[in-house]
Symmetry: D2
Subunit: 333 residues, 4 copies
């Protein structure tokens, strides 16, 4: 359940305020020269405190690799890594121990497990995405061998879709002690045709599962996405124009996937995120006994999930494509 992938598998672990987060990447083929600096750079992109738009928790987020690499190369054995939790001010959360934060997993974890690590959201914290980013950066180096590149950008914040407008939405939300939603658009270029499996292994199904596992994600779209609902067939036609190792079409309404299998053209996706649930203002809620109370969030919180979600979306795409790449090795005699 904390594992994603069938051929290229990532098993994640860790809580916001436990000793460390991390994971095990299993299934990486042998012989890849792994660039550790690139992994650290990906972590740095996601790290809080590097961007004025994000939370002020300061974590060095240094990755330590425990296995699977020998003289700089992958050996075919599991690549395990840990990222220590250093700046974990657990006492910030003492006053929230028995309170249910609206829009958070506090109540659902308690209902499911009978207890929960309340500090910083525990396993449900966005901090856990650091492990995802590290694993994704490992996967990225594998798929790059086959020419695949994944690039995500913030494409909407609140009602704005331009860089300037998005920045204004962020500042306005912050000034109001409010938070705001947004969207990340992601494109994978250089994908060979033939990735994805029929029916339940469709590439879009795997990508959707991957993206919807990201904290605060509320939707997954590919190609025309929700726009497809209002279009006619004549308006969304991808006329085939050529067939070599890929299918070429006049446009790319299909988002680079047909019948669950990549065409060889760009794979285009969009993920929408809800506003961060914790606002810097007092809100009404209840405690674990059901009694009404006021929650006045301390701790350090982002105004919008999108800026830090960008590398996480990339990571999930890379993990999914790495898995699909290996699966595709088994499609023919």
């Amino acid at each position: 359940m904390n594992t994603i992938g069938h051929f290229f598998r990532f098993t994640a672990f860790g809580e916001s305020h436990g000793p460390a987060i991390g994971g095990v990447v299993d299934g990486m083929p042998a012989g890849l020269t792994l660039d550790l600096t690139a992994i650290q750079e990906a972590l740095d992109r996601r790290r809080p405190g590097t961007d004025p738009r994000t939370s002020t928790r300061r974590e060095p987020d240094r990755i330590k690799i425990n296995s699977g690499i020998f003289e700089g190369k992958t050996t075919g054995t599991p690549i395990a890594f840990t990222i220590d939790n250093c700046d974990a001010r657990s006492t910030d959360y003492d006053n929230m121990r028995d309170k249910i934060r609206p829009g958070h997993a506090d109540a659902t974890y308690t209902l499911k497990y009978g207890l929960r690590d309340h500090r910083g959201g525990g396993r449900a914290s966005a901090r856990t995405t650091a492990a995802t980013v590290a694993a994704g950066a490992i996967a990225a180096q594998f798929i790059a061998v086959y020419g695949i590149k994944v690039k995500a950008v913030a494409s909407q914040i609140g009602r704005a879709t331009t860089p300037e407008g998005m920045l204004r939405e962020l500042e306005a939300a912050r000034a109001a002690g409010d938070t705001v939603g947004g969207a990340v658009t992601c494109i994978a270029t250089g994908c060979p045709a033939g990735l994805g499996e029929p029916i339940f292994g469709k590439l879009q199904a795997r990508l959707a599962a991957a993206m919807m596992s990201i904290n605060a994600a509320k939707s997954f779209e590919y190609g025309d996405g929700t726009d497809a609902a209002r279009l006619h067939g004549s308006e969304s036609l991808d006329t085939p124009t050529g067939l070599d190792s890929a299918l070429h079409t006049s446009e790319n309404h299909c988002g680079g996937i047909l019948g669950g299998i990549s065409t060889g053209e760009d794979i285009t996706m969009r993920v929408c995120f809800k506003p961060i649930a914790t606002m810097m203002r007092p809100v009404e809620t209840i405690d674990l006994k059901g009694s009404p109370c006021i929650l006045d969030a301390k701790g350090r919180h982002d105004v919008c999930a999108v800026p830090r979600a960008v590398p996480v979306v990339e990571a999930m795409a890379c993990l999914t494509l790495a898995d699909a790449l290996l699966a595709a090795r088994c499609s023919r005699i």
Copy 2:
């Protein structure tokens, strides 16, 4: 890859014009009195030819159960079933053998596998959803024991969102030899709190994978969905109002899931579908050699995926919830 679920597993098989489609449901607990009539009724709802809005292929779609039931009850062993393909006019497709139908899986299957069963779309045909519907109807009876009911409806066709308007959009598209997209909205009521697992087993991740495996689906949303992107935290607040075996909130922006785990309130989802790719008019395309040609579709085709997708969406939700129900049995000592 043709299996979905971890605890409650469904393995599907079959092509549009092969001898039969079907599947194996593995993991159904013993002791459930299985109502075969209800399964057949679900199949009848999806069946072409029963609705003036849908394709005219006539299939009796009789389910035959081969195992797993003894004296009317599930035995804990796999429930295997087949649905024969009777009205399979393969010759309808002879003229399309070497042509690539725009918006279909013809080219991608060929690129992936080096060959394909071209008749009626083969494994990529929407016919395969009959097996899904049958398995979903079995899952539905299991989750009903726990009070869970799943109900989907057509909520958008083209630009229309009212019943009358949707019907008009369908008729207009048909009259124009065109096709049209749409959306299905699905609600699961009666779900206990605690379904779903952290991180990669989040309930919305499983539901997204399930829904995105349906033919022609282009997006998955839950709760506020894509609307969440433009909202502020203060606009999308679910204020907790009570906590018993479920978390009760003032509204349900979260769609009944927080941190990947069900709250106990209604789970709300929406799936958008692209227009059916095959139109009843000649279209430009290429053949398998890459040469331009004209495709004049014969065969029998729907104008819109939505009407027949409704029971498929329900089935995928039921399968996912059945899996999550069993998983939840393992959450506590």
Copy 3:
């Protein structure tokens, strides 16, 4: 749970006296010309009634393939098949419905599931191995492409290890209304080096799981097997003599596997089977209420599991090697 394999997966279903047994083979690469006659021949070898040494139940055991084959070739989609249960004399078992047959799964199924299909052993019947044999015969054709051949023989019956002696043991047991145990030895030749994965995916671990899933199997050995326990290192040395695409050694104590990975030399295994539990004589037992009673087996029963287990052992080896062959495609960049 009714699925074996990770890359090349076989999902089985069926009870002794249900409508049909069968399964779904998922993961077969596309492009293999499948010889259906060879599958039927493998079934015929396992079939009761063809050998004077085996049970007298008469089943034609005709395989029907429902999907995954187009114009004689595998398409990369699941190959589903059924084998009808024709000669199912359920009334033979009426007098055993409430009795617990010693050495059978009657009590354990009832304890686990709360009910059971008592007819002919239900899901626990050796009849289910017909589905295994069919799937194995499909896998055999895949691995044959890579030069792998699997051959099993009866190597021990009772205390005898020669063909003549084994036959005498069988006849003596039958004459006494008794049953007798035995062993099957299996060799896989032509295996490339590099099959098997470290730690939990070791080739011998997969083979052991496969063999121990066969009815009445009590042990799995490979290479020196249990003899290894009494040997010294100097007695069981495989001195390396050459290294090309395989590791060549002076002897093959290791059974063709080192560190869980095939060396390229013959893989040698041995599986022991307990005497068939049902004897043609009255035995003391209890009923489901715990009261003592006498069981006088009717129905049709073998004297020894070994003759009919031979093709089942081969099938399980083929399925395991097919899975390992696909896995090995992912070991290097």
Copy 4:
């Protein structure tokens, strides 16, 4: 591939001379008070240097738990742990870098992956069983809640089966610069009836896979094991004597499992181990280019795998039973 279990899953990582070994235990239910001292004690039992019979590598083998525990209790989230490799004298292995050690995985890893971490056997080292023992000790605490206890003992070394005789065999082998094989017998008491699943999930199949994944294991037997081959049905009869929450029988030839499902009586197993391949004497071999050479092992090596395998066998049994216990929660409505 480095994961075992379906419901209670253990993912292992690590090489003999990498920074650390360890793993992730996923699926542990919430609410168990975890005794860390007991885990450390299990590690100490397996640790080299604590027993005059075993290797002289000195490792403190301190476990560090990174996640999944809050205020002493399991939270339902993954329990990740690392064990640092401290006493890793890699230079001991420099002279063996290009040599193939007879009976080891050197050649097979190289053939499979194209490269290998040669230091101390890399991933194929018995050192990796420390992670298994830690995970098994976690599983042991879970199954103990249900009354299950697992106990293994050395039951054979060379030709000896008595404690004194076994010690003599060890000393004789050591004195001769030789090594010797042996066997471990394992009993699980207190198992509820109903563990194990039909066909490929049979309890003995899971146990066999688990045991055969241990370094140097050559066979798995349960109940009568290989002896069953020479017995008659009348000699191996387990006459049922009572049925309550378990099936009671006059004897336990079946080893506590019938039809793949536990009866509720003791589960009895035996695992044979080959002599340690590395002997303290020069042996003939070849190098990676195929040229003959002499290998004079340095490093620190055991004379017999059995003493240190005892806690590993227990660990694998505990992991398997933990998985089966969770699976059994899903068997009935």
